[in-house]
Symmetry: C2
Subunit: 358 residues, 2 copies
């Protein structure tokens, strides 16, 4: 169990306290440690140590929490929740918190709730544990990637002149959920034509025209784990230049991906895509990291960028180079891979070698 | 402009610094202050003062940021981003941060980035400003509520025996996006039968049977603003008990809602639903706050609970009492209202007086 890594540096009587804030401030470490599927768990907590894990939730989430099979205490009020935590942490001197997620105000409140305790940061332990996926996590990611890949060809054949980007995004989300996704891991990106030059474009009212690039960046969520894949096609006949850009990005992605194996520095995987693209007339047109970890978050952890990062077995990462030309459009190709003992295996279905025309 | 409230307690040379973290740690105050629609803006920042607002973004988001018309500086690296902030905040002694959103680690990093500055918390100012909606915010919420209401009758008529909860959720999301939503404000909740007893149930594989309650809690997102509405119906013929529970919840919601006007304490609006429900044999079966603010977040701020909270003109709030009976099911009715000078007006379309049979 990789989760135990979180506790490796703890003494026997130390504890880890995960406290969710309200909306937008819940901690994915709660989902990770509890294994709860679904639920919001706003203002819920976990106390964990070498001996085990206990959940503290409100009655709203009692049923979802019970399904974890973990030790559980249900509170009916903020006062009761605070008293439960104070009682169970009484006498505990050293308490680890997730400083990467806890807000300054919740930290101040926690200090007041537990006077006398000494707090320390366990965010690195949590992140390092989350990077290495368990068999269960891998099977969820595999399913999320499978659903995401499966729907693509039908989406391409549904494209019609005059469709809006938002309509295509809506259809993609619908098909993923029909195929078994519990939702989408992030807002689906659909870009037509010149909009594809903007990596984080939000789908809008632009209508599909013949000759447009159609860039889709999306991922199914399956039991809280998220795939992340990007495909670029052309609606109608592609020009020579559109095809050429695609070929360069395809080459960059293949060459980066083939370097992946345990022990390699992610910086080198990143650099390879830059080397391929910067050796062409598209030099300078890639300006983002070439990949990241996936898991409970769509950007679960850094993986391929300018900083040192060692790739390890059972990491799940994306590889996503792109070329972006303002006013013209862009191509990005993104796939999800699992790092194996010797190299990697793909979770998404491999991208087409040549630019697809829909 | 209510946004100016944020700066009311600042001296002329004070500044507010909003710093987004990475995924899951971006601050809605960034969206609020910038007015940017879409974009992720991970690790982007805002420096704001009485004189104006400046955005600091990475090249990934340059186009989306430009659309705001605000002063803008684009960085190509973390180093450059940090240098830009250091240059523009040089000599500024007092810097307000949003302690409700900033993580402990980002706070520590900010202290190192800006040595010598004195930091203070502006989270209350931001929250109080966000509570009172501007005309533009109201029109977005109105549209989000309209889309959410519009799709409901078609959803009811699409129900078929054997459908899964997840299928209904997928269809609802699709219809909202087809009707103009940019996405959903939160994961759509669909509960059949006994699952309706759990307020935060995640849709699953349960198949629809005749006689099941069908509880749907959902909201369209329109230009980043989120509606939040709940409807409960029965698939097939409703029993006398199912109808009775609905009537009690309907009465609770109506009576709470009719109390809404500027100056009233939200605690009284909350208590009214408890009074109505606790006077019946369903005493004790409501166990959550009866409403909350809506806006950029689906739970934008507290509104109706056990604590003191004064309702003010141009707040947008939901009213959502429910009755939950484990093993049997539950009814919740939720609508969005805007507080007006004298009382309120509904943003969603009023709920049916009698339990609908689909």
């Amino acid at each position: 169990m990789v989760k135990e890594d979180i506790f490796r540096s703890l003494k026997d009587d130390d504890r880890v306290l995960i406290r969710n804030g309200g909306e937008g401030s819940t901690d994915k470490a709660f989902t990770y440690l509890s294994g709860a599927v679904g639920g919001l768990f706003e203002n819920s907590s976990i106390v964990a140590g070498k001996e085990g894990i206990k959940l503290y939730v409100y009655s709203l989430e009692e049923e979802t929490a019970k399904a974890t099979g973990l030790d559980l205490e249900v509170a009916g009020s903020v006062k009761q929740m605070n008293e439960n935590l104070q009682r169970d942490l009484k006498g505990i001197r050293k308490i680890g918190l997730n400083y990467d997620s806890m807000t300054v105000n919740l930290f101040e409140e926690t200090k007041k709730l537990l006077p006398g305790a000494e707090f320390f940061d366990v965010s690195k332990n949590i992140m390092e544990a989350r990077m290495i996926k368990s068999a269960e996590e891998i099977s969820r990611l595999q399913e999320a990637a499978k659903i995401s890949s499966e729907i693509y060809s039908e989406i391409l054949s549904s494209l019609k002149e005059g469709m809006k980007e938002t309509e295509v995004a809506a259809l993609m989300n619908y098909r993923m959920m029909q195929a078994g996704a519990s939702g989408v891991g992030f807002d689906t990106i659909v870009c037509f034509g010149a909009n594809a030059a903007e990596p984080h474009h939000s789908p809008g009212d632009r209508k599909l025209k013949k000759g447009d690039y159609v860039l889709t960046d999306y991922g199914a969520k399956y039991r809280d784990y998220t795939a992340d894949t990007t495909r670029t096609a052309v609606f109608g006949r592609a020009t020579a230049e559109q095809k050429e850009i695609y070929s360069v990005v395809y080459k960059a992605q293949s060459e980066s991906m083939h370097m992946i194996k345990p022990g390699i520095n992610g910086k080198l995987v990143n650099q390879k895509s830059y080397d391929v693209i910067d050796a062409t007339k598209y030099k300078g047109r890639l300006m983002h990291g070439v990949g990241h970890g996936i898991g409970l978050d769509v950007h679960d952890h850094m993986a391929f960028g300018r900083s040192d990062f060692t790739i390890k077995e059972n990491m799940a990462v994306t590889v996503e180079p792109g070329i972006y030309i303002p006013g013209f459009g862009g191509v990005r190709i993104e796939d999800d891979v699992l790092v194996t003992g010797q190299g990697y295996r793909m979770l998404t279905v491999a991208p087409p070698k040549d630019l697809l025309e829909a």
